[in-house]
């Protein structure tokens, strides 16, 4: 479950674009500022990684892991910027 403090949302959509499992989308309703806060998609693979919660610049998202979920909440690690495998492949 994610809770959105809708009036705090400024509509940057960082949560939507950064979600590793593409679980969020714009909602239909407009908030006080005239932006559409995010919501979980009908069918989503949210694994409660909490990235959206941490990245939201306006502290508007709270992720609450569902009680019945068997899957353990995961921590998202920083993806390597340069693939380590590619490094030094030309060493003679």
């Amino acid at each position: 479950m994610i809770l959105i403090n809708e009036d705090w949302c400024k509509g940057c959509q960082i949560c939507i674009t950064r979600c590793p499992v593409d679980a969020l989308e714009e909602s239909d309703k407009l908030n006080r500022r005239g932006v559409r806060p995010p919501k979980l998609k009908e069918n989503n693979r949210c694994n409660f990684c909490r990235l959206c919660e941490l990245l939201c610049p306006d502290l508007a998202i709270t992720v609450i892991p569902d009680e019945e979920t068997k899957e353990k909440p995961k921590k998202t690690l920083r993806p390597p910027i340069v693939s380590v495998r590619s490094i030094g492949r030309n060493i003679k």
Partner: protein, 301 residues
């Protein structure tokens, strides 16, 4: 970590009531840094009565206003100097400074340099958005070459200022740089910085969609955030490439901004050393500045 598990509860604990939402623009990185700081404080479990925040002038300097703790919102560039006095008066306080690139590298550069040199126990969180955001997008000491600002309308020709290199050279105890786009390493760094007895400098590359992004073809918030991922390189990766990589890789890496922990050392801290000085002086019998009393006499006129 304490009881608090969700952002909602965290915000209730650390945000000053009634102050949120912020004055920051849509997509601004300042709020993210604040959230990271809250998580770090929460994981450390500090008593917020004993944590004080200081800031200068600029967007980032408004952050202490949102935190439910003592906050000193000072004059432009001077936060570190104010914090020096605050720490001297009460060394039990954990002092955290929020500052921006203009505030810290521009007008406040000298205070930054000397606090790092003295190794005063404080944590400086510098939010670098490459621009003077609050005043509307003027050239900052950190603006990349070619960057457009209202006061560099034809592209910046100045060499940008890398404060991490400066802090490292001055021997600051802890120096790190991260982007706001990934949460875990920065939270860890803030934690380590606060725990470090000495001067800690943590820089965040944070987007300013309004004043910087818009003028530099990065107006789209998503693209701006992506820019940070594409243009930064972990210091470990950078070093590996410099050692083993081919010329092309090296060229590419050199153009990127290095991120990571640049320095993490133990070094005598100013007020700890000062305390030793006081104990040394007070332990000794005080050598009198004036005459020995028994010898004193007043000769009658």
């Amino acid at each position: 970590m304490g009881e608090i598990k969700t952002a909602g509860e965290l915000n209730k604990k650390y945000l000053r009531e009634g102050m949120w939402p912020t004055i920051f623009c849509n997509g601004c990185g300042n709020g993210v840094v604040l959230e990271y700081t809250f998580w770090a404080l929460e994981e450390l479990g500090l008593d917020m009565d004993k944590v004080a925040f200081a800031s200068g002038i600029g967007c980032s300097s408004r952050l202490p206003g949102y935190i439910n703790a003592d906050g000193l919102h000072t004059t432009h560039g001077r936060a570190i100097a104010f914090a020096t006095g605050l720490k001297a008066a009460n060394p039990d306080l954990t002092v955290i400074i929020f500052t921006g690139d203009g505030d810290c590298a521009g007008i406040g550069g000298n205070h930054f340099i000397h606090a790092a040199r003295r190794n005063i126990d404080m944590t400086v969180i510098m939010i670098n958005n490459f621009i003077y955001g609050m005043t509307g997008g003027q050239l900052a000491p950190t603006t990349p070459i070619g960057g457009i600002a209202t006061t560099a309308p034809y592209g910046n020709i100045e060499h940008p200022f890398d404060l991490c290199v400066v802090a490292k050279a001055l021997g600051a105890s802890y120096v790190a740089r991260w982007t706001v786009s990934h949460p875990y390493q920065p939270i860890k760094s803030i934690k380590e910085g606060i725990q470090k007895k000495g001067f800690s400098y943590i820089e965040f590359l944070a987007p300013c969609p309004t004043a910087y992004g818009r003028r530099n073809k990065l107006g789209d918030i998503q693209r701006l955030w992506e820019w940070y991922d594409k243009n930064t390189i972990l210091i470990e990766d950078y070093e590996r490439i410099m050692k083993y990589g081919d010329e092309k890789e090296k060229e590419r890496a050199k153009k990127m901004i290095q991120i990571g922990v640049f320095q993490d050392v133990e070094k005598p801290e100013f007020f700890t050393e000062y305390q030793k000085l006081v104990e040394r002086l007070q332990g000794n019998t005080i050598t009198k500045t004036s005459s020995v009393k028994s010898k004193k006499m007043v000769v009658k006129k």
